[in-house]
Structures are given as structure tokens and as C-alpha cells.
């Protein structure tokens, strides 16, 4: 089992999956990410899968579960760098990866997380303004 490093970038977390994960590695990553979100009060998680040449239903489930748990912890998840052949296969497999946003690369993924954060902030401000009235 390998331990996959999680980097902190501002209020976001970045994970780059470089290896073909076995089940234990995948589950351990899921646990490590949720702990890290809490520990660093992260607003977003960026998962870079550009090195993965296979994503089966187990890994897909792991990604979807991670996004769902992050949501409960008030953080958004963006998966970046999915390879075309993986995307084609996932569509054929029927996996929708619901609740997981995607972006082409880390840069775009960051932009997406930042714009979501800005939007959330704006909505929160509006709600506050409403309450004060």
C-alpha cells in the first residue's frame, strides 16, 4: 500500500494520484482526504488523475464518495486531467461520477474552485443582508 501525499494550497487541497492504486491505497486516500479537509478547514479539493490510465467502478465510487463527504464538510471537489480513453471507457461503463466536477487541468481546476468559493461568499453575503433587514 502506498501513501499518496496531500498538498495544501491556500484554502484548497491538491492530490496527485500517480500510481495505479490498489483497494487499500484508495480507501486510505479517502480517509486521509476527509481528515485533511477538517484539519485545514479546506474549502476545496483538487484531485489530479492525469496519470491514471484506468478508472474502474471501484475508483469511480471512491471519487464520488470523496466528493460527497467533502460536500458535507463544506468543501467542493474537482477532478482534473482525465485521459480521453478513460473518459470514453467510463461513459461506456455507465459511470456518471455524480457530484464530482471536472476540469481539464490543475490550473483550470483551481480557477473553478476559486470561482465557486467567490460565488458561495456572494450568496452568503446576500443571505446575511436579507437577515439584517
Amino acid at each position: 500500500m502506498q501513501s499518496i501525499p496531500i498538498l495544501k494550497m491556500g484554502s484548497f487541497l491538491l492530490v496527485s494520484i500517480q500510481v495505479d492504486m490498489d483497494d487499500r491505497t484508495a480507501m486510505s486516500l479517502q480517509d486521509d482526504l476527509t481528515s485533511a479537509i477538517v484539519k485545514h478547514r479546506a474549502k476545496g479539493v483538487l484531485i489530479d488523475i492525469s496519470s491514471l490510465d484506468v478508472v474502474d467502478s471501484f475508483i469511480g465510487r471512491m471519487l464520488a464518495n470523496t466528493a460527497a463527504m467533502a460536500r458535507i464538510l463544506d468543501a467542493d471537489t474537482v477532478v482534473v486531467g482525465m485521459q480521453p480513453s478513460v473518459a470514453i471507457t467510463l461513459v461506456e461503463l455507465g459511470l456518471s461520477l455524480k457530484g464530482v466536477r471536472s476540469a481539464l487541468n490543475v490550473e483550470r481546476g483551481m480557477e473553478l474552485l476559486q470561482s465557486i468559493a467567490r460565488q458561495n461568499l456572494a450568496e452568503a453575503d446576500e443571505a446575511d443582508a436579507g437577515h439584517e433587514k
Binding site: 495505479d20 492504486m21 490498489d22 483497494d23 487499500r24 490510465d53 484506468v54 478508472v55 474502474d56 467502478s57 471501484f58 469511480g60 465510487r61 480521453p84 480513453s85 478513460v86 470514453i88 471507457t89 461506456e92 461503463l93 455507465g94 459511470l95
Partner: protein, 137 residues
């Protein structure tokens, strides 16, 4: 259909699924399958190997390289001596699962392969065969 190469490996625990993927990838590359074809059969193998471990108590995967001079293909046979699948029709329908997963194993593997065959009955174990041909869609 002439089998030019054949090999069997035991698939008993979750940790061995990665090994299955690597073996299938190596054989697919050797047969000259395109990247998308490789990914499809590796993913299908991963699904079926996992099924075998989760529901069949583990089993064996046999890989066969097929070549009749005109077509080249890769055949994978997943065989276990587990409890068997009680309702085959339901199992082939997407979303069906007795566990807590996404239930895409059999149906998904079928969609990812050019040929698919499953033989199973309660108490008789399960045998799933898939084939991917080079150059087919």
C-alpha cells in the same frame, strides 16, 4: 480460433486486482490493441476480477491471445467455484447489486467487450468469458 498464448493466474484477494490489470494491459499492448481498446478490456477485467473476489470467493483468470491470421484478439475467462449467481437476468441489469456498490460489474464488462458470455447457477460457481478484437468498435 487458434490460441497463440495462454496463462492463468489466481485472483483471491482485493490486492491482486492491480496485478490483473497490469497483466491484461501487457497482453493488450502486445496484441497491438489501440489505447481505447486496451483501456476498455483492462477496465472490464478489473470489474470482473473484483466481482470474483467479492461474490465468488476468489477464482482464476485465464488470458488467451487469439490469432487466426486475419483477426487478433484477447480472451479472458474468469472462473470461480463460489455460490453462483441466482438471478442472472437481474445481475446483467445495471444498478443491480446485492452489495453496496454501484452494481455495474457484469453489465459494464459486457458493454466494454466485443463478446461476452456468462455461465452460472446456484451452487455451481460462475464462469465469465469476454473477448476484445483488435480493430472492432
Amino acid at each position: 480460433m487458434p490460441v497463440t498464448k495462454s496463462d492463468s493466474i489466481s485472483v483471491r484477494s482485493a490486492g491482486e486486482v492491480v496485478g490483473v490489470r497490469h497483466l491484461v494491459r501487457r497482453w493488450a499492448v502486445e496484441l497491438g490493441l489501440s489505447l481505447v481498446e486496451q483501456t476498455k478490456i483492462v477496465t472490464a477485467a478489473s470489474e470482473l476480477a473484483r466481482n470474483m473476489i467479492d461474490y465468488g470467493g476468489g477464482g482464476t483468470m485465464t488470458a488467451e491471445a487469439l490469432d487466426d491470421g486475419i483477426r487478433k484478439g484477447l480472451r479472458l475467462i474468469f472462473e470461480d467455484h463460489g455460490p453462483g449467481i441466482p438471478d442472472l437476468q437481474a445481475a446483467l441489469r445495471d444498478g443491480f447489486t446485492t452489495g453496496g456498490g454501484m452494481g455495474l460489474g457484469l453489465g459494464g464488462a459486457k458493454r466494454l467487450s466485443n463478446e461476452f458470455d456468462v455461465k452460472s447457477a446456484p451452487g455451481e460457481g460462475t464462469r465469465v468469458t469476454i473477448v476484445r478484437w483488435k480493430g472492432a468498435s
